[in-house]
């Protein structure tokens, strides 16, 4: 064992796939001592009412995120490039998840 184990459990981010065909979506976070317990806690906290068919847990400190300070440089250049949006096509009827 390491000298003084932390008394606080690490934080985990939880992703749940609601049903087959959809992708996992972030639903929240939780504390757990390890990955196996994190999955079990996620099951208790986020899928009590049949919200999901699959769960991912990721150590929160393994996630690299954009910084709010970089927002302008990161995202604003996309604003005036309408040709990137599929607005010039019509979507056929009956197509889901597009």
């Amino acid at each position: 064992m390491t000298a003084t184990p932390s008394r606080e459990w690490p934080l985990w981010e939880v992703f749940v796939r609601a049903r087959r065909g959809l992708s996992h979506g972030h639903v929240g976070s939780l504390h757990a001592p390890d990955a196996a317990m994190a999955l079990r806690n996620a099951r208790d906290l986020y899928t009590r009412r049949q919200e999901g068919v699959s769960i991912w847990v990721v150590p929160a400190d393994s996630i690299s995120a954009t910084s709010p300070d970089e927002k302008d440089a990161f995202f604003d250049p996309a604003a005036d490039k309408t040709y990137r949006h599929p607005t010039f096509y019509s979507v056929p009827e009956g197509v889901e998840h597009l």
Binding site: M1, P5, W9, L30, H31, A32, P33, D34, A36, M37, R40, N41, D44, L45, R48
Partner: protein, 253 residues
């Protein structure tokens, strides 16, 4: 026929009391568990057990003469509680003891319900069939914790071992039989408790070994819960369980 019905009533009461009393014990941990996440897990397991208790006590009450409701049996019954003493043991804030007891009890419930699902009594079979998946999760939760605490730090190892010692004298009772159970087993209604001993203890022994703990050898065996003989700890539990219902008879919300 009447005799069989009385036997079934008592049998349902025993299993229902097991579930109800342990549900109450687990409820004590809500807001007192080591972490918020564990509060929720304890509440989930307790509520599963409460659901089983409701089905079993409702059924037992419907067979009684005069008929009694689940609430009559849970909130207004002073004597004749039929639960095994294992479930009434107070945890005294010892999380390891709670997990040691849950490991043994849920392993027992897993085997019991798996077999009871084939009962000739359709109500008992239906309750057991529905509960089987629930108790499988309870057993897994207890297993995870016993492994981590047993094979954790020196202190968690010592405390988990002490917890096993504290619980062990009460384990044997759940494998005991009596005339009533023997009659129901012969009728294909009840599960022979002795047949559960090997699979349950095999499961527990495997977890205990992987957790680097030692399986206790009991020097004392406590028993009597099925005959209504209980430890003083059940009295305090029932006082808390029944307090509101007795203070405000017939209250609804």
């Amino acid at each position: 026929m009447i005799a069989v019905q009385q036997d079934v009533t008592t049998y349902a009461l025993r299993l229902g009391d097991d579930a109800l009393v342990l549900a109450q014990r687990l409820g004590e941990w809500v807001a007192s568990a080591p972490q918020l996440e564990e509060d929720v897990a304890m509440a989930n397991i307790g509520l599963d057990l409460l659901g089983q208790a409701r089905s079993l006590l409702s059924y037992a009450g419907s067979l009684l003469e005069p008929v009694r409701t689940e609430d009559d049996l849970a909130y207004l019954r002073e004597r004749d509680w039929q639960n095994a003493q294992l479930v009434e043991l107070a945890d005294d804030g010892d999380f390891g003891r709670c997990m040691a007891r849950l490991l043994v009890f849920s392993a027992w419930q897993c085997e019991l319900y798996a077999a009871l699902a084939a009962s000739r009594n359709q109500t008992l079979a239906a309750v057991a069939g529905k509960a089987a998946k629930e108790v499988d999760y309870h057993r897994d939760h207890a297993t995870q914790w016993v492994l981590r605490l047993g094979d954790g730090t020196a202190e968690s190892h010592t405390r988990m071992q002490d917890a096993l010692y504290a619980v062990w004298p009460y384990v044997d009772e759940v494998f005991e039989s009596d005339d009533l159970v023997t009659r129901l087993v012969a009728d294909g209604i009840a599960v022979d408790p002795a047949s559960l001993r090997e699979p349950v203890l095999d499961y527990v022994a495997d977890v205990v070994e992987r957790a680097t703990l030692t399986l206790p050898t009991p020097t004392v065996r406590h028993s009597g819960g099925r005959r209504g003989v209980h430890t003083e700890q059940l009295g305090y539990l029932l006082a808390e369980l029944q307090h509101v219902a007795r203070s405000h008879p017939g209250a609804t919300w």
